[in-house]
Symmetry: C2
Subunit: 219 residues, 2 copies
Amino acid sequence: MRKTSSRAGGRGRPKRELTRERIMKAARAVFAHHPYHSASMRMIGRAGKFDHALIRYHFPSKAKLFGALLAEVCDELVEANRSCLEGLAGLPPDGAIARYLDRFLDYHDDHPAALRIITLNIALADRPDAIPGYRRIPEVLTRTRETFEQALPVPAPADEVARYHYAFNNLLINFLGAGSCQMIILGMKGRDADYRAWVKKTMTFLFLPPLKKLMGESG
Amino acid sequence: MRKTSSRAGGRGRPKRELTRERIMKAARAVFAHHPYHSASMRMIGRAGKFDHALIRYHFPSKAKLFGALLAEVCDELVEANRSCLEGLAGLPPDGAIARYLDRFLDYHDDHPAALRIITLNIALADRPDAIPGYRRIPEVLTRTRETFEQALPVPAPADEVARYHYAFNNLLINFLGAGSCQMIILGMKGRDADYRAWVKKTMTFLFLPPLKKLMGESG
DNA sequence: TTCTTTTTTTTACGATCGTGAAATATTATT
DNA sequence: AATAATATTTCACGATCGTAAAAAAAAGAA
């Protein structure tokens, strides 16, 4: 007979969902270190200590699994961005940018896989669906731009705001997503805290002056 | 008997070298669209219209081939950078940055594979030799910084110059190397000329003011 | 020409890939 | 406990991978 609810009788979430999350977690770890076509189902299985065939029971294919993961990661990024922008409207430019960077760097420390997955696959968008669900990546930029416009309304033309937002996020994604390589370049290998401070200082150095202009505080 | 010179009697370069270049050209095309582990010898063979086994006669392994290509590409980038910086010392900041960007964008139009190869593999440097010869990538940054310091000496602390140089090149590499994706984000898919203009404008918008500061023209 | 060297293709091996079906184990229901 | 449903593993298939050796072709030297 058909089970009416997987949760019936048991405490906690149904096993189906728990396993899906285990798989997603393992997939996140693997796709954070290998571009889509280089990662394999068997790598994910090893990372999560389950057989690779189990994935197929919960996700119909590698492409669908990656698509689901990418969607999750991108939604998470948009939400993190929204959260980091909260309550910045009243602050002066230097306070706002410092606050935003501190928050976002915290987010990245807690969820380093997200930006890595983006960075590893962003350059692969040659033709539509060269990687599954790649549309999500450009969408992150457009969605965070809308959030930015609403959270920090500034008296400046929309295309200037877009230019600022786009450059800001591109550079930050690159700094954090490819951080391990950047640290090597800067001679900070392993010194994550130093690198974090460097990123904050550099982003501020570069983006505070134009932010002042955007906010009409040109000085 | 041993041939004293492959060139003997024939006009032009020896076949050995010609084939090596054919292989490198095909490899460049393939590695410009696939990260190291995703690209295959057979792809390269198809791209160059030769059997994949031929590669092994001229290069001992996939890793060595990629290493050779990466070294070539990185040297080419350093040289392009040097060439683009030539004669900029006397110019005012806005002229210098415009000139540099025009030149470098020209270079990229002629050799789009170079920055693509960098961008596709830069985030893979987890551990030493996750990709063969990855050291070349950080080296490009350090070498171009030295070139920059010599070509455009400015009265500013070395770490500020380094910060500027590093951010500038990171963003530019990202804009151009992942251009196809960036154009999608900006709604400029296929409009390469528009995107090029956008890149120039954005880079100028962002990097001209701090360059003025570096050059002591703070306004 | 004939012989030797160099270059290229053919063929093959073991490994890994994504996927699928079958077999087994686990859990829920009666 | 018996039965049904769900979850997981085992096994297998065809394809592709990098590499290797042998065979064939092309080129050069005599």
